[in-house]
């Protein structure tokens, strides 16, 4: 009976204690940020941070990438440079809102996410600052970085066709558009239009083919669907393997994972649009935040991530493609062969994303 009378005050005390101790621990981090912010924005373009003698002890990164894809990189970077990295993971949208809300008080110097649309969005809202770096300009192909140098691609992710070899002759496959043909009726699988990958693909198609033609293509795809759109690329590929549909549209690394577990996995990859515009690619990438407390170290990290070792890890860890030439590929990835990628600058994926989403809504792509 007396449980509550005894425990409630204790709980209250615990809460209050936690509140107080938190205020103490939070205060210094606020102090760290304050003086660094104004100095940072000036220092960024001024000089190359890689040889700075007074390197900071701690660099804060906001990332939407999974820990096992970034943590080993960060560890190597720390070992080489002595700069420790703290990171916070969250979804891209939440990180962008967080950066925007924090404004000049943000602890984060670097934003690392997937999809150019997200990076464009961050740049568009003034959350990223340009990096004037010969290293980055030289190593990263122009279409994979922002024309205004606010974000830079670190790996390439290709979205192309997969098919079941027993039921599809690859000679019948050619382009994304061709999947609207009546012969594919009831045989096509798509992911939901909620995923940014599909939004970027449609955005790039709008840029190349125009809105009207793109809407026809999207409508044609939906006509041919074998079943409702899937909520994940992996489930989509499994549906192709199981015979629910014959051909689908996915990012290559999802197939790579399945093929790595089972080399005889009954789904094959086809490079779309090789004779026309090239395969739709997107990036994972990084940018320096506008109010970066440690702009020099942030820039150093981004440049370091385009180095050969880092690129090899980035490419291998999630079976994506490196942005830098001459980096050895994962064997499973190498077996898919070379491909021509779409050469339109990825900024378009962001610029036209809202347009693409509206188009997909009109077409009824769930």
């Amino acid at each position: 009976m007396n449980l509550v009378t005894r425990w409630l005050p204790m709980l209250l005390a615990v809460v209050l204690l936690a509140a107080c101790s938190n205020d103490e621990s939070a205060a210094p981090s606020g102090d760290d940020v304050e003086p660094a912010a104004p100095a940072g924005s000036d220092a960024a373009p001024a000089e190359d941070g890689s040889t700075a003698p007074t390197s900071p002890e701690r660099l804060v990164v906001y990332t939407s990438r999974q820990p096992h894809l970034v943590e080993p990189l960060f560890d190597d970077f720390t070992e080489e440079t002595g700069i420790a990295i703290d990171y916070i993971s969250d979804s891209e949208a939440a990180l962008i809102e967080r950066l925007a809300a924090e404004g000049d008080r943000t602890p984060a110097s670097v934003l690392i996410t997937v999809d150019a649309g997200n990076l464009w969005q961050a740049a568009e809202r003034g959350l990223l600052q340009p990096i004037d770096s010969d290293v980055l300009d030289e190593r990263i192909p122009a279409e994979l970085r922002d024309p205004d140098d606010q974000w830079f691609g670190l790996s390439i992710r290709a979205r192309t066709l997969v098919y079941h070899p027993d039921r599809v002759d690859p000679a019948d496959l050619s382009t994304y558009q061709a999947l609207t043909a009546p012969e594919w009726a009831g045989r096509l699988c798509l992911r939901t239009s909620r995923k940014v990958y599909n939004q970027s693909l449609v955005a790039m198609m709008i840029e190349r083919l125009g809105e009207e033609r793109t809407e026809q293509i999207v409508a044609g795809w939906l006509e041919n669907l074998a079943t409702e759109p899937f909520s994940s690329d992996t489930r989509l590929i499994e549906a192709v393997a199981a015979g629910q549909c014959d051909v689908g549209l996915v990012n290559t690394y999802y197939l790579g994972r399945l093929q790595k577990d089972d080399p005889d996995y009954p789904v094959e990859l086809f490079w779309a649009n090789q004779d026309t515009s090239g395969v739709h690619v997107n990036i994972s990438g990084a940018g320096l935040t506008t109010h970066a407390p440690e702009p020099a170290a942030g820039r150093q990290l981004i440049e370091w991530m385009t180095g050969l070792d880092a690129q090899q890890f980035i490419a291998a860890s999630n079976m994506e493609y490196p942005v830098v030439d001459d980096v050895p590929l994962d064997p499973t990835v190498a077996a898919w062969g070379e491909f021509e990628a779409d050469s339109i600058n990825l900024r378009v994926a962001g610029q036209r994303q809202a347009e693409a989403v509206r188009l997909m809504d009109r077409a009824g792509w769930r």
Binding site: Q66, S89, D233, G243
Partner: protein, 543 residues
């Protein structure tokens, strides 16, 4: 602020018209909750007609329809399962009751997205069930195929959310259900009639509180419906934000959802008939003994729900976790568990205190106070990520004005938990308070007890079962909470839910099985122990 007081001495007929001093207990809560809610209101400062035309033409008609369907089906399902199972557990006797009773709230320990992913994986075309069926009989019955379609999310949400109704209804039934039932029977009415006309109305406030929780969870859910591809109003919120880059319109949508739910809650309050106070359980009659086949039918029904909602998902998680079971003893895992427990405990303590404030302020108070309380508890109806953004914006604005660092601190997260989950604590407390005889306070007062004495020595001890339930529910909810924890956690405060998010960000759900399993077990142990204590207290009384 006025000190915590207790109900003024009045006869039931002379209801006070003026606000009791303790209504001001709501003030601090309203200020805290109001900050982020203001952000929702401010979003209406300007309206983008173009985007609303687009939403209104292509998305909202279908999505509102889906959300209503979801509400009706999940609400009805949760009511039938929750009330039915609770009546059996609380008032009947059949084989295995003592074991089944506490286990039936276990689905609460599963985050809905985990349940959804497990079942979609098991039931879809490429999954084991359909594959086996195709090999054995060549085809899949349509109803099984339908379970992997978008509407398949409906039974998943029923299984995930019926425990709210079960928990609150069960407490109410076990307190007075049998007395009322027996009284009705002695007047010659049939059992079904008595159940419907007497027992059910007496438990209505508790059942409705449970149903409100279930419905709000349902409408704010994004994880499970996204996995099944069942687009709802919440989908529109996220699509507007993430796809159309319009957080303002997304916030406007979210505030409409909140208004709708508030309207529902108010409507329910308005239609409540005059207070039906349950009998004290001074002399609880014997449980209704279900003999023979009827007894085993009751056992079977409870067992079936338990197997589908708990056993199968648990086995699947175990199978997925086996390869990585060794990581359980790593320091990383222990740290995650520690953080989860600590945040859960701190957060739940705050939530219970908040719930207590709501209760004390609103106890036998005029309706105006009840409305204010509902407003203070409305954070539960806002989709998690939107609420997290609103809190982030509110705190960073405050930081700028006050030159503080609230937004990066632990307090921000605890505040988010308070705003989001205070309703979870309020429900159970109200359920218990409705059964307290106000005369007790009059007696205490006439014996010269001060307000504080009445609070500490009369009110709180009587509320104990409600406080325990509230704390437990809040603890489990906070441990599962993902969006606000993701956005507001300070450095180094990663929890199990965070790890699940990180591992599943690229759709590799199997990888997250181990943290999910640990999370479920962490939530399950205290849940079962406490349910057994509560159940034991009611069940141990012989007639």
């Amino acid at each position: 602020m006025a000190p915590a007081g207790l109900p003024p001495v009045t006869t039931p007929h002379a209801r006070v018209r003026r606000l009791p001093a303790r209504a001001w207990l709501l003030a601090p809560l309203l200020v805290l909750v109001g900050l982020p809610l203001l952000m929702l209101v401010f979003s209406w400062a300007s309206i983008d007609g173009d985007i609303w035309r687009h939403l209104g033409t292509y998305l909202l008609p279908r999505l509102i329809g889906h959300s209503l369907l979801l509400m009706v089906v999940v609400g009805a399902g949760a009511l039938v399962l929750g009330v039915g199972l609770a009546w059996l557990s609380a008032c009947c006797e059949y084989p295995g009751r003592r074991w089944l009773d506490p286990l039936l709230i276990l689905p609460l320990a599963f985050p809905t997205y985990v349940l959804a992913f497990i079942y979609l994986g098991l039931l879809d075309f490429a999954g084991p069930l359909q594959t086996q069926l195709r090999e054995l009989v060549g085809a899949t019955p349509a109803w099984i195929a339908a379970l992997s379609k978008p509407v398949g999310v409906l039974p998943i949400l029923v299984l995930a959310f019926y425990p709210y109704v079960y928990l609150l209804a069960r407490a109410s039934f076990s307190a007075g259900g049998l007395v009322a039932f027996e009284a009705g029977r002695s007047l010659g009415a049939g059992p079904l009639r008595v159940f419907l006309r007497v027992s059910l109305p007496a438990a209505r406030p508790a059942i409705m509180a449970g149903l409100a929780l279930a419905l709000m969870e349902t409408l704010a859910d994004f994880g499970a419906v996204a996995i099944y591809g069942f687009d709802t109003f919440t989908t529109a919120v996220y699509r507007t934000w993430l796809g159309l880059f319009d957080l303002r319109a997304a916030t406007q949508l979210a505030s409409l959802l909140m208004l709708f739910l508030l309207a529902l809650v108010f409507a329910e309050r308005a239609t409540r008939s005059a207070r039906v106070r349950q009998a004290e359980r001074r002399s609880v009659p014997n449980r209704i003994v279900l003999r023979g086949a009827r007894g085993w039918l009751a056992t079977g029904a409870q067992l079936l729900v338990l197997i589908v909602a708990v056993v199968i998902p648990l086995i699947q998680l175990l199978v997925w976790s086996l390869p990585s079971l060794g990581q359980l003893w790593s320091t990383d895992a222990l740290e995650l568990i520690g953080n989860t427990m600590l945040l859960g405990t701190l957060g739940a303590a705050g939530v219970v205190v908040g719930g207590l404030l709501l209760l004390l302020a609103g106890y036998r108070a005029p309706r105006r106070v009840a409305l204010a309380s509902e407003l203070a508890a409305s954070g539960y109806a806002i989709p998690g990520t939107v609420l997290a953004v609103a809190i982030m914006l509110a705190l960073t604005s405050l930081d700028r004005v006050l030159d503080t660092a609230l937004a990066g601190g632990l307090m921000a997260l605890l505040l988010a938990y308070l705003i989001r989950f205070v309703r979870v604590a309020w429900g159970p407390l109200e359920g218990v308070a409705a059964r307290i005889r106000p005369e007790l306070f009059e007696t205490a007062r006439s014996l010269g007890a001060s307000r504080w004495t009445r609070l500490w020595h009369v009110m709180l001890p009587l509320l104990r079962p409600g406080l325990v339930t509230a704390f437990l529910l809040a603890l489990v909810e906070i441990a599962k909470e993902m969006p606000a924890t993701l956005m507001l956690r300070p450095f180094g405060w990663d929890t199990l839910a965070i790890r699940i998010y990180e591992l599943t960000a690229e759709g590799q759900w199997e990888r997250a099985a181990l943290p999910a399993l640990v999370l479920v077990v962490l939530g399950a142990i205290p849940a079962v122990l406490l349910m057994r204590r509560l159940g034991g207290a009611a069940g141990a009384r012989p007639g």
